[in-house]
């Protein structure tokens, strides 16, 4: 038993989670010219292995423990006190699993139509960056991963997107980079100030968070520098304007990944770095962040209602949903934060699935204009059924996964942020409004000539969507195993915050 445990400890599973996609990407790039028929297979093997590793991590993860597990630490840049430091806890676990599962689905389910080699190579590099961001316990390493993600995403949007793709890709790159510019200065300042308390230069997240005492004023500035980067990434109102463009112009695969995991790097960053490093400053900034989050919820919902383009509608719904997650994150009660973490995963699943479905509609009709679509339910009932389930999950219908997270967030936020929560609840109703109205316009009614030939869901698409539907239903009905793994880490974080803010 002990031997087995040791083996688990010494096997660098987390490092492999980051390295595997990189290897896959290199293999794909090298195969490119000589064996084009093997590219997709190679990409698939790499991403499925990563998925298997992440599922194994899920199985081996000890529930009920709060600390970091499977920690792997190696000195990287000794002169600057930087190490390759990875670890997983309840907060990051499900985001890692989501990242592990989502990529193979996207790779198998969506064809890039042209330049397969570079598409898959970028896709896999993107996965490595996202994995690294969720696993890093070193500020420098996190920044590297957080920033490196931009490059593959930029090329995915720019290379395989729609008409305005270059504009959207550039906007995405520059907005996010501008945010992280502040964070880089913040990270360096954090380390420089922490050096006075710790006596050494280190970028180690845990050491700094547990050991350093920042003055109130310094902590506020540092928190703000991190917060800007994360607020752009989430995106929080008013930093959200890159999102609808990026989402609308990105290829379906890019949108799924963007909504599924990339935006979570912002909310996760708030929790893991912003709140953990600077609890007092986070408390101080709460009212402002609550306000922005709630504005995001209402604004996102209203803007979504107004959209003519189905994909843009889903993009704005993301703004609203992420507002809920940020509200829950900063409510800093155990329930709300647990709900927020859960909702990060839920949103990834349901919005990712929505983007897939919109992508399928576009493949069939070559338009995403809601006014062009009508009566699809008549010609493609199964497709409509799947859409309904996914949509209701996004709305937050009890029994599906969206409800669990949203409910926990609202209940947990009501104490610390009463009036904001009251307003946010309106957002739940609005979500039902814009999604159901869109559904009604697209699927109900009599199909006109163009829509009467709408193809029913294919076997491949059906299998793809069944994974999403399964996750939506199972985690909606029986969320306990998930919550059991999230809660201890959240409780430890809350305790840390309360200890620091007394």
């Amino acid at each position: 038993m002990i031997a087995a445990n040791l083996e688990v400890l010494s096997f660098p599973i987390l490092t492999l989670l980051v390295v595997m996609p990189v290897i896959g990407s290199v293999v794909v790039a090298l195969l490119g010219s000589s064996r084009p028929e093997w590219i997709k297979l190679a990409a698939l093997i790499s991403s499925v292995s990563t998925a298997a590793l992440s599922l194994w991590l899920l199985a081996a993860f000890k529930s009920g423990e709060a600390g970091f597990q499977f920690v792997s630490q190696h000195l990287w840049i000794s002169q600057w006190g930087i190490s390759w430091h990875l670890g997983v806890d309840g907060i990051s676990l499900f985001l890692i699993v989501l990242t592990g599962i989502l990529f193979p689905l996207v790779i198998v389910g969506i064809d890039p139509h042209h330049n397969e080699t570079s598409y898959f190579a970028w896709m896999l590099l993107l996965q490595a960056g996202v994995m690294g961001s969720f696993l890093s316990l070193d500020l420098f390493l996190f920044f590297v991963m957080f920033e490196i993600v931009l490059v593959p995403m930029y090329f995915l949007i720019g290379g395989w997107g729609y008409d305005q793709r270059v504009y959207a890709a550039t906007k995405f790159f520059l907005y996010t980079m501008a945010g992280s510019a502040f964070m880089l200065v913040g990270i360096i300042a954090t380390v420089a100030l922490a050096q006075r308390d710790l006596g050494v230069v280190t970028f180690d997240l845990v050491k700094i968070a547990e050991g350093a005492k920042f003055s109130t004023n310094a902590a506020r500035w540092l928190f703000l520098s991190f917060a800007i980067a994360f607020a752009v990434k989430v995106p929080l109102f008013p930093f959200h304007t890159w999102l609808p463009d990026a989402h609308t112009q990105a290829p379906t695969g890019g949108s799924v990944i963007l909504a599924g995991v990339l935006l979570k790097m912002g909310t996760y960053g708030f929790l893991r770095f912003g709140v953990y490093l600077f609890p007092q400053a986070a408390m101080w900034a709460r009212p402002a962040i609550f306000t922005l989050a709630v504005i995001g919820i209402i604004y996102g919902a209203i803007a979504a209602t107004m959209q003519h383009d189905l994909k843009r509608l889903v993009a704005y719904s993301s703004v609203a949903h992420l507002g809920f997650i940020v509200l829950g994150t900063f409510a800093l009660s155990s329930q709300a934060v647990t709900g927020a973490v859960m909702q990060m995963v839920n949103h990834g699943v349901s919005t990712g699935a929505l983007f897939l479905l919109v992508g399928m509609i576009y493949e069939r009709r070559h338009t995403r204009e809601i006014s062009e679509l009508r009566g699809i339910q008549h010609v493609a009932p199964i497709f409509a059924g799947v859409f309904t389930v996914v949509m209701l999950s996004s709305v937050g219908l009890p029994g599906l996964n969206g409800f669990v997270g949203e409910f926990l967030i609202l209940i947990g936020s009501f104490g610390p942020a009463r009036w904001w929560t009251v307003v946010a609840t309106v957002g739940v109703i609005l979500a039902a409004l814009y999604l159901l109205w869109a559904y009604q316009r697209v699927f109900h009614g009599e199909p006109d000539e163009a829509n009467s030939t709408f193809k029913e869901i294919t076997v491949r698409e059906g299998l793809l969507m069944s994974v999403f539907v399964a996750i939506i239903v199972v985690s909606g009905i029986y969320p306990k195993p998930i919550l059991d793994r999230i809660e201890p880490s959240v409780a430890a974080l809350i305790e840390h915050v309360e200890g620091q803010t007394k």
Binding site: Q79, W80, L150, G158, L174, M177, L184, V185, I188, A189
Partner: protein, 504 residues
Amino acid sequence: MNDQISEFAGPTIDWFSVSPLLVLLFGALLLLLVGSLTPQWRRGWYGLVSAVTASAAIVLSIFLWRDISSSGPKLLVGGALALDHFAVLASIAICAAVLLVSLVTSDYLAGEKSDMPEIYALYLTAAIGGVVMVAANDLIVLFLGLETLSLSLYLLAASNRKRAESQEAGLKYFILGGFASAFFLYGVALTYGATGTTRLVDINLALNSYITVPRNDTLLLVGVGLMLVGFGFKVSLVPFQAWTPDVYQGSPTPVTAFMASAGKVAALVALVRVFVTAFPSRADDWGPAIFVLSALTLIVGSVVAVVQTDVKRMLAYSSISHAGFILVGLEASSHRSSPDVGDGLTAIAVYVVLYAALVVGTFSVVTVVAQSSTDGATSLDAFKGIGKSNPVLALALTVLLLAQAGVPLTSGFVAKFGVVQAAVSVGSYKLAVVAMICAVIAAFVYLRIMVSMWLNDATNPVSVKVPLFSTIAIAIAVSVTLVIGVLPSLLLDLTSNLTQLASK
């Protein structure tokens, strides 16, 4: 009279310590004398001789490096030159630039059908000037180095006799460079008037010893200011940058690569050495000036780059903003008094070395692309569709551009991280934030070039041929960019003793 002559004793010269200079001189003379007396050599041989000379100088510098590691930094030739890690590292960067640029030039001139030895000889004499500048411990010696470098560069800029732009670039550079030299020399004279010496180390001693006596600093400060203006022209700091885009655009592209790398490195390192060695006691005076120059250079360099449509002009402005970044490190040094100049100096050294490799690599790709386009144009259009026709070359340029933008896992990030860290650790948050924001603005420029390469289709597709020597040069630059980007320790290990400048 005779007595005086017999009393004159020349300084003792440690010949081995100046051997890199001698090797470069030998190479230059070999090319000029033998090259002009013999018929046209076979293709590539001039460039090869130049490259071998530069390599030999690098090898000798590495031996010097080890000497310094074991026996410490020292002054040479009666205090005229300093031998320390800072100088040797910069010399290596300059010689490496000569090596890579020679390779690229060889292919370039073969393509232009005008291979000749003078160009390479000028590279080598320019390198001599550069190596003297980075090691100079005396303002007069520094001026000699500066002129040797500058005169070579004027000629190089005008070296393409077939193109009017090249002539114009040479003339423009010459006139403005002459102005700059005059400013600099006037500054030297005033500084000499205020301190009674031109030795950097002695200037510092003189200023410190008078510190208790109430004295009028006006003469000194005007002198320092004029020197800063002179340096500002050479390094192309805003507002002294106006010549840069025209000269960079007009010069033959390999020469631009040389100016932007070796020329800039030499001037920047000399600037830093003068301020850090001679005037640490007046850091409160020149620190704010550097702050303003740095911020202006960063902002103007990156913002104006955005509206350019010619790649060489874009890169000219980007090189301006890089100089601003390096000044961020100098500004950080101004917050600490001698002898502890701290992270700033290390950061600057790391930055200039990595920047030299980056900029040579980038311009090498531009050279290759421009030569394949119909009229040698370097507009964004010339880069359209390279991603399809020559993906490997496009990938190489993408890596180099991402590095210039400061994306992690490239050397550019290591360089920027270093200077920002130096700034933040002394509390210069404002400058650090300005620098990072400008890096984002500049990133837009690099994105535009990448968009042209990957996302636009060529209007009239031409296949870009990459000759052998250029391939080697680009490969070296990209390798340095990636290896140092992933494993910065390799370079940082070397810089641990860098802040010990030679003082006796």
